[in-house]
Amino acid sequence: MTATTATGGGSAEPIPLRENRATPRRHWAPVVRNREVAEATWWLEVDAPEIAAASRPGQFLMIGFGVENTGAPFIPRPFSVGWRSPEGVIGLLVRAFGAGTRRLGALDPGDDVLLLGPLGSAFRPEPGRPSLCVAGGVGLAPFLFLAPEFRDRGHEVRLLYGERTGARVFDPDLIRELTRGDVEIWTEDGEAGSRGLVVEGIDLSDDPILMGCGPTPMLQALARTAFEEEIPLQVSVEEHMGCGIGTCQGCVVPAAGGGWMKACTRGPVFEARELQWEL
């Protein structure tokens, strides 16, 4: 494999994705509702008003089961805040990946989870330009939260959402209800929405800025577009996490200038040019 590295130019000085962050809180929260909304995918609602009120789109929670539990997940797992209700219910989009996520999928109303959040950086709109949000798989989660929040503040949002198969697509009607707007769906098997990769849906004619969350190949495709067309791109990245607050230094991603940045505290949302890419 020949890999070229690219940084997209520019410096990696801190950018205001990280302003005005609330102090994280740790508390137990009851599950209000949990339902399977697509193949191996659950919409999990937890009652956590304080964390909900403090959360911003792009931020995440660590979800665990406390020290008396030693089964997976023993170390809490990171999940994007997927939505919040005015009453303080937080919605999370959970896809089965391993033992930890399967356990979250099996939770029943009344079960308690231990939350730590809100954590990390947030997506940031650019006044006067639409935010073109590109989601792959459960990378949809932060945009379900972002779309109505940005729209309420007068920012235009367009949402593209791709899955490998139609069976994995999160109910489009529920997406429209949660985001109070439209969604354009792409699947590789063509069983829902348009057939193809979600990045094929990118239309730059109204001078948008790009936001992405999803698998790395999708983020790479977005970065190529953004660097070629010189469009701002913010991406949410994933890495194995331990503490969620920067102490364990477990979740590093490569920085444009060399070295590492913590996905939990500098990220998870980065300007694409802050990161080191292999494109």
């Binding site: 740790r26 020290v67 997976a72 170390i75 730590l116 503490c243 920067g246 102490t247």
Partner: protein, 315 residues
């Protein structure tokens, strides 16, 4: 003085629970979540002479009852530690004690960190992490008795502050290493650091951890930590800080009965930051309920002499 306070290393410790090195950053990160100054103290992330970038990801992964990590001792380096991290500790911690975890690739590097810190304020003493390769000798300080002895002797010459040596479990006879530290002038021991381990992603047929191998921590290592603490405690008279898999008062008390005066909590903090507070409360309750005078009366009192019997009704 409460039932859990003790005098050790020349000072008063208000409680027996410290946050372990590498799991509490430089203190500040947890200050919003738990009352740090009510704890016994904390041990900073390792400090080396030069900043270290650390290892490529993945740096951590879960394993049943614990985790595997290979951070690579990423740290800001001595100079930035003094400039940016120590002032916070000095300003914000009054009663909780701070040990600075020290690493190096040579005796000189360790000595340079100690010499560079010794006149600063904001900490009590040093925890010497000897799970580091000795570039001069080609071994690890912690698995080479001669190198270990030389290291501790040299550091003893650099400082009058407490020197606590954090032993690696990766040796056949930890008691011998404990004695080497004692003879070389150490004030205490921390037992133990992580166990070497490896996980493989069977789909990719590659190691899960970027650095191939890492250190195992968490409840999975509790019995090994208790055993090694007991072995070290029976081999020396040095005060011991027990570490490994502690997530409850009962776990911590096992270390105390095995011979530890203080304990550290690492991985459990990730699971629940408040676990450190819960452990202290649980130990207080144990002492109160059993009418033990204070914590120091429990240290090393596990009864291994009582013969094992097979008859029913033996108590």
């Amino acid at each position: 003085m409460g039932a859990v306070s003790q005098r050790l290393f020349g000072v008063e410790w208000q409680g027996p629970v410290l946050l372990a090195s590498g799991t509490c950053g430089y203190g500040e990160e947890y200050s919003d979540l738990i009352p740090l100054d009510d704890l016994g103290g904390l041990v900073t992330k390792a400090v080396s002479v030069e900043p270290r970038e650390g290892n490529p990801p993945h740096r951590i992964s879960e394993t049943p009852g614990g985790m595997l990590n290979s951070i690579g001792l990423e740290n800001v380096g001595l100079e930035a530690f003094v400039r940016e991290k120590l002032p916070w500790l000095e300003e914000n911690l009054d009663r909780a004690r701070v040990l600075v975890n020290v690493v190096g690739n040579s005796v000189d590097e360790y000595a340079a960190v100690v010499a560079g810190l010794d006149d600063e304020d904001g900490f009590l003493g040093y925890e010497i992490n000897v799970s580091c390769p000795n570039v001069e000798g080609g071994t690890m300080f912690g698995t080479d008795r001669e190198a270990l002895g030389r290291l501790v002797e040299r550091l003893r010459g650099e400082t009058d502050r407490p020197i606590v040596v954090k032993l690696t479990p990766n040796v056949p006879d930890i008691g011998a290493y404990a004695r080497v530290c004692e003879e070389a002038g150490a004030d205490g021991l921390s037992t133990i650091n992580t166990f070497p381990g490896m996980l493989i992603d069977v789909d990719k047929r590659r190691p899960v951890i970027g650095n191939v191998n890492g250190g195992v921590s968490g409840p999975a290592i509790l019995p090994m930590g208790v055993y090694l603490t007991w072995q070290a405690a029976t081999a020396t008279d040095l005060p011991i800080i027990g570490i490994g898999g502690i997530r409850s008062a009962e776990d911590a008390l096992q270390y105390v009965l095995a011979g530890a005066s203080l304990v550290q909590i690492g991985t459990a903090l990730f699971v629940d930051p408040e676990s450190a507070v819960g452990v202290t409360e649980g130990i207080e309750k144990y002492i109160e309920e059993r009418d033990v005078g204070d914590l120091s009366e429990l240290v090393g009192t596990v009864d291994v002499e009582r013969p094992a019997r097979v008859g029913l009704g033996y108590e």
